[in-house]
Amino acid sequence: MNLYSFVIENKEILEAVYSLIIGLICAVIVSKTDKFFRLSLHQGIRYFRNSFLFFGLAFLARYIFGLSLGLSLTYAFVVQIAFEYFLVMAGFFLLYSLIWKKFESPKDKYFSSLFNTKVAIFHFMALLIAAGDSLWNDYNFMFISQIIIFSYASVLSCINYRNDAGKHQFPKFYFLAMLSGLCAWILNFLAEAYFEWNKWILINIGIINIIFFLLFLYGIIRVIKTK
């Protein structure tokens, strides 16, 4: 039995384990970046932390979804909407952590970075996207929105990498992480639109997603080690 056959035969349990692993990686990233934020009160760190908080919530919801597939269709439906909403919010926050300086002055003070007038538009759009997909019974709104977000984030991280000119180690990995994220969303879209959720493509998307999260974890650990 090769690896792909093994994965396909044990799909449900492996999906739950996969979601749990990503959830744990996100928990580590959130806890480390939360410490940085509490010390510096830097808004960019705050939005980056929020992004991985939502990624973590999304995969936790998916983990629960994976374990409770047989329980109730309504329950599975609600968890699926939550998964999509959290994932879209995570994408918005990740992009916003790169561009927040264009929209906020250092003097702007928000009591909460999860619920404020600027972030309200993210919640509204994420709810709209999740609701739209549930109405049409597909994932097109989410896939297209995330492809746009990750394309923009990839361009920004490429500019950051070029401007950094080798002074730091991580910008090239950050750019690679963004490209892998973009690649995963494009493959997701193609798998849904043209390949009827081909299992081989889905396995590769899973691998790319793990690379995406591991790259960020690697970056955080590397930065902490500079101490």
């Binding site: 790169l98 730091h168 500079t226």
Partner: protein, 91 residues
């Protein structure tokens, strides 16, 4: 915008380092050492007190001095890491 934000963190580091070097320091001496305008100095000091990075101590003769708190010491230790994080992640 980036340099503005970077400068802000640098100013905070410089103020905290000055206080740490002196253990306790009078407001006027800290103002000179910080190289800020009185208005900006006041803003930074208020922020640092509200973040509990420094404390304002007043003795019986009503003399005021600033000293570094545990949180302020932690910040100085973590500053390099935080600076690295912001630069590496393009935040």
């Amino acid at each position: 915008m980036t340099s503005k934000k970077r400068e802000r963190l640098d100013v905070i580091r410089d103020i905290l380092q000055t206080i740490r070097q002196n253990r306790e320091i009078k407001p006027t001496r800290l103002l000179y050492a910080s190289n800020l305008s009185p208005q900006m100095f006041k803003e930074y000091i208020n922020e640092l007190i509200s973040k509990k990075f420094i404390s304002l101590d007043i003795d019986k003769e009503d003399k005021k001095t600033f000293s570094l708190t545990k949180k302020g010491q932690d910040f100085l230790q973590e500053y390099k890491v935080i600076e690295n994080f912001i630069e590496n992640f393009g935040l």
